[in-house]
Structures are given as structure tokens and as C-alpha cells.
Symmetry: C2
Subunit: 110 residues, 2 copies
């Protein structure tokens, strides 16, 4: 499989935001950043890899926790500067807090 990453616009730090969605429920699980290296690994190994801006390192999601994400489909947007990754979520969930999704906090009035 040969994939041309020239369509993807990485920012000045060499990163692109990746929205991760559960392909089974369509829930948004998380958003994290990918470098060209982590994107290539994601496409090649069919599990998600990100780039941690706080730790400045490549990060294989779920490598220690078991909450890996099996990649079903990867899309990019009309500007080529955002990715949408549809996954099957393993383990307890996507969030480092143990939650299924990172988006559990409501900002506006209930």
C-alpha cells in the first residue's frame, strides 16, 4: 500500500490535529496531534500513534494501558489540515482518566 501524505498540511511544529471517533457508536473519543511519523505508523500498523506535545515524543495509544485503537478509516478535511480517524476502541476507553471519551465535561448550562 502506497499513501501520499503530500495532501496533508502539517503546522509549523510539523503536527496535524486528529479527531478520533468510535466507528461503532459514532461518539467523538478524543483529539490528539499526529506528526508525519505517527500518521505513517497509524496507516501502516492500523492502530493509532500520536505525538505528545508535553512529552515531545511519539506515543502509541494504549501501548501500556491496553486501550489501543484499531483503525478502520482515515479521512482528511477540505483544507487538508485536520484528520478524522474512525477506530474500534479497546480496553476501558480513550481517555487517560479512564473514561470512554475525553469529552465528558459540559461547558454550557444544562
Amino acid at each position: 500500500m502506497s499513501i501520499n501524505l503530500d495532501t496533508i498540511k502539517f503546522n509549523q511544529d510539523g503536527l496535524v490535529p486528529a479527531i478520533v471517533v468510535d466507528v461503532a457508536t459514532k461518539d467523538v473519543l478524543m483529539m490528539a496531534w499526529m506528526s508525519s511519523e505517527s500518521l505513517a505508523l497509524t496507516l501502516q500498523n492500523r492502530e493509532t500513534y500520536f505525538y505528545s506535545r508535553s512529552r515531545s515524543e511519539l506515543w502509541h495509544k494504549g501501548a501500556t494501558s491496553g486501550s489501543t485503537q484499531e483503525v478502520e478509516e482515515v479521512y482528511y478535511d477540505c483544507d487538508g489540515d485536520t484528520l478524522l480517524v474512525k477506530v474500534r476502541q479497546n480496553g476501558s476507553g480513550a481517555c487517560h482518566t479512564g473514561s470512554y471519551s475525553c469529552f465528558t465535561n459540559r461547558l454550557d448550562a444544562k
Copy 2:
């Protein structure tokens, strides 16, 4: 309604990424950036406002095209640095190309 935006971490440019989802279909429509001003207007007026990085200006989504987005719920993630906005999409869709969603291009092999 009083909303405390102190929980939201804006980046060095004063912006936060906002993922927009169709509350009816759960499809991811687009990702764009919000300033504190555009977020406050979004919460107050219950339609989406963003900050255009290319035009360096506040942007009321659909103001000219009619493709406004009525805000149902706004969430923030575990790190407080990404927003998830659930909307009812008006008009033809969310994308400036005329598409319903900005994520129509598949990156990986079909």
C-alpha cells in the same frame, strides 16, 4: 447565564480547536478555531462563531451562506484544550465546498 471560561486553555495564539458534530446524525462536520470572543458569542447567541486564522478575523458561520449552525451542547475535553460543539446544521452543509461535512476525502486505501 454565567459561564466561566477559565476551564478552557487557549493556545499561544489565544485559540482553541472546536470539533463540530451534527447532533442529529452524530457525523463530524468540521473543525475550526475559536477565540475567547467567538466562544463567548457562540454560547451567548447559540450559533457558532469561529476565528479565521487565514483572514485574522471573527467569523459567524453561515452569516452569508445561510448554513448557520444552531448550538445544542458544548463540551470540553479532559485537558480543557479542545471543544466539542453539537449543532443542528442549517442550509446545504458545513463545508465551504458545499458538502455536508468537510471530511469527505479518504486518506487510507479503500
